[in-house]
Amino acid sequence: MGKHSTDQSVIEKASAPGPDDGGGHLLEVRDLFVEFRTGEGVAKVINGVSYHLDAGETLAVLGESGSGKSVTAQAIMGILDSPPGFVTGGQILYKGRDLLTASENERRAVRGKEIAMIFQDALSALNPVFTVGWQISETLRKREGLSKKDALDKAVELMDLVKIPAARERLKAYPHQFSGGMRQRVMIAMSLAQQPKVVIADEPTTALDVTVQAQIMDLLADLRRELNTAMILITHDLGVVADVADRIAVMYAGRIIEHAEVHALYKSPAHPYTLGLLNSIPRLDDKGKTLRTIPGLPPNLTRIPAGCPFNPRCRYVRDVCRTDVPPSVSLGEGRDAACHFAREVLAGTLEPTRKDPEL
């Protein structure tokens, strides 16, 4: 967990020579647009999201429900439900190749083998009628062409890797016979079966208790160290992010509103939404009195407000925020924020225009 900016640049350079214009990143999302066409209208779920990931690093994508954090991941994996979901623009480059224009065969070759996903709800992601051993070994048999016995042996190895005790005996167990934490380990084992370069973990510990959550996060950190797997961690939990992420992208209304190295972001946010989030969470290490809240609700994605999508809730709103969509401002050191006044917010010199809401 100790490797930060200095190590990072080394890795970036090492993995630099990509085939075409991948810019050297392992995975890069460029200006992605996704919309959901429903009976209620067209919901603009992703509105120009860009981020990148290098080998061995952890990018946290932070956002509340409806922010589009999971949909981006679904688009990367090619598992977006369509309809209603449609990718309407952008690129998803894996090792320089655009997955969105790739054939279904090519995508299948990437899915699982290069990029794997861990879901929040392990119970529903596992098939209840097959044994755990069968499910872990299935991909190995189908995709790697291993014999049944070899595949099961490999499954035992994987279960050992994710620290499931008495792995061999538990090959024949069914998902419902495992505890929540153990099921999550099974799912991690399945995602690692083909040694992917990128693991996307969508709220991997949200359904788990704190002590089990700590175990799973430890496991993911260990695996990342041992296998040099890059990880996109999708979460709403500011605590989990602070614990494991190298970089963090904060999403709001389908946009990345702030992107920074994790220490820098927690120290001084450059976007009022991030600032509001950090101020609104009760902290274990600090018993304050009244929490400073963000008033209002995230916008309806079928009618995102004009200008900055956060403007109806922002304490620092100015006239320009109601008319112009703020571009992403680069603040140096790989840091940027989509706020007209990012520099002032960062410096803490911006005067609020609204009082804190009463209850």
């Binding site: 429900s65 153990m182 602070a242 992420a245 220490h263 989030l277 969470i281 902290r283 929490l291 209850l359």
Partner: protein, 336 residues
């Protein structure tokens, strides 16, 4: 920041037990065991305070709430409010007691009847308990109190967001002017930015109306924020109870220490010097809890004594608040 002197005792729970029978067979049911969901819980709730009950899933905290609300019948124990036992009350006495103890449920999406207007939902306690007067005015007043627009009295729950629905649930709990509100994970289903709004509302209402809360949650940060005293539950028992400060700064039970250390702190600088106590294994089944101390199977301090003797929940030398551990001791730097 600790609470001043404790208020007078309002609710005394003692020896609370709930065992769910495990049966087998369809026609001839035979009892083959029991799940000891709550297995001997004692605590006192004081007037005007917020008592947090924390623990992981399956520790019995939600069952405890159901026992106090008489949704489940206790196997044994008493819960005395104002000289009357909630657990044993019947008929008219139970109805009167229900007016004093209300509950806010966890899931705002399922706890409101989707086919009733919020006005009907909030008025329901008034109708059930035959409260006369202008019910409509009272409902509007309650909506305003919880920060909702009184004009929305005829709206249906699905027209509101999660946080707003939770406010409706709170208004329903307030309708009868109760003394005690049991909050069962009231914010865990809400988004981060909305959680704070609801927490602030609960604090405001407590200050304005002099309410006492039993606040059940698994989120230790939220509990620390809102609670004056905290009880930590494990496998159907309270393992440690004390003021917010005693639990969060001077915990003496290994389980409390492990629980606190596992909470991720939203501060990336803390990750280097944070001292996470890694518990191994899973919580044992409440149908078959370990002998002696229930935590011993996962405890790094466990000895033979722990397997033989059940440690009582009593004040310990390490710190004078009750802790159910033979080897109660403070740990250093769990939280900074």
């Amino acid at each position: 920041m600790t609470a001043p002197a404790l208020g007078e005792p309002l609710l005394s729970v003692s020896g609370m037990v709930k065992h769910f029978p495990i049966t087998r067979g369809i026609l001839f049911r035979s009892r083959i065991g029991e799940v000891k969901a709550v297995d001997g819980v004692d605590f006192v709730l004081h007037k005007g305070e917020t008592l947090g009950i924390v623990g992981e899933s399956g520790c019995g905290k939600s069952t405890l709430a159901k026992l106090l609300m008489r949704l489940e019948e206790a196997t044994a124990g008493t819960a005395v409010y104002d000289g009357r036992d909630i657990v044993a009350a019947k008929g008219g006495e139970l109805r009167r007691l229900r007016r004093e103890v209300q509950m806010v449920m966890q899931d705002p999406y399922t706890s409101l009847n989707p086919r009733m207007t919020v006005g009907d939902i909030i008025a329901e306690p008034l109708i059930i308990h035959g409260v006369g007067g202008d019910r409509d005015a009272r409902v509007r007043e309650l909506l305003d109190l919880v920060g909702l627009n009184p004009e929305h009295i005829n709206r249906y729950p699905h027209q509101f967001s999660g946080g707003q629905r939770q406010r409706v649930g709170i208004a329903r709990a307030l309708a009868l002017n109760p003394e005690i509100i049991i909050c069962d994970e009231p914010v865990s289903a809400l988004d981060v930015s909305i959680q704070a709004q609801v927490i602030n509302l609960l604090e405001k209402l407590q200050a304005e109306l002099g309410l006492s809360y039993i606040f059940i949650a698994h989120d230790l940060s939220v509990v620390r924020h809102i609670c004056d005293r905290v009880a930590v539950m494990y496998l159907g028992r309270i393992v440690e109870i004390g003021s917010e400060d005693e639990i969060y700064q001077r915990a003496t039970h290994p389980y409390t220490q492990a629980l606190l250390s596992a909470v991720p702190v939203p501060d990336p600088d803390a990750r280097e010097h944070r001292n996470v106590i890694r518990l191994t294994g899973d919580v044992p089944s409440p149908a078959n809890p370990p002998s002696g101390c229930r935590f011993r199977t996962r405890c790094w301090k466990a000895t033979d004594l722990c397997a033989q003797e059940d440690p009582p929940l009593i004040p310990r030398e390490a710190d004078p608040h009750p802790s159910a551990c033979h080897f109660a001791a403070q740990a250093e730097h769990i939280i900074d």
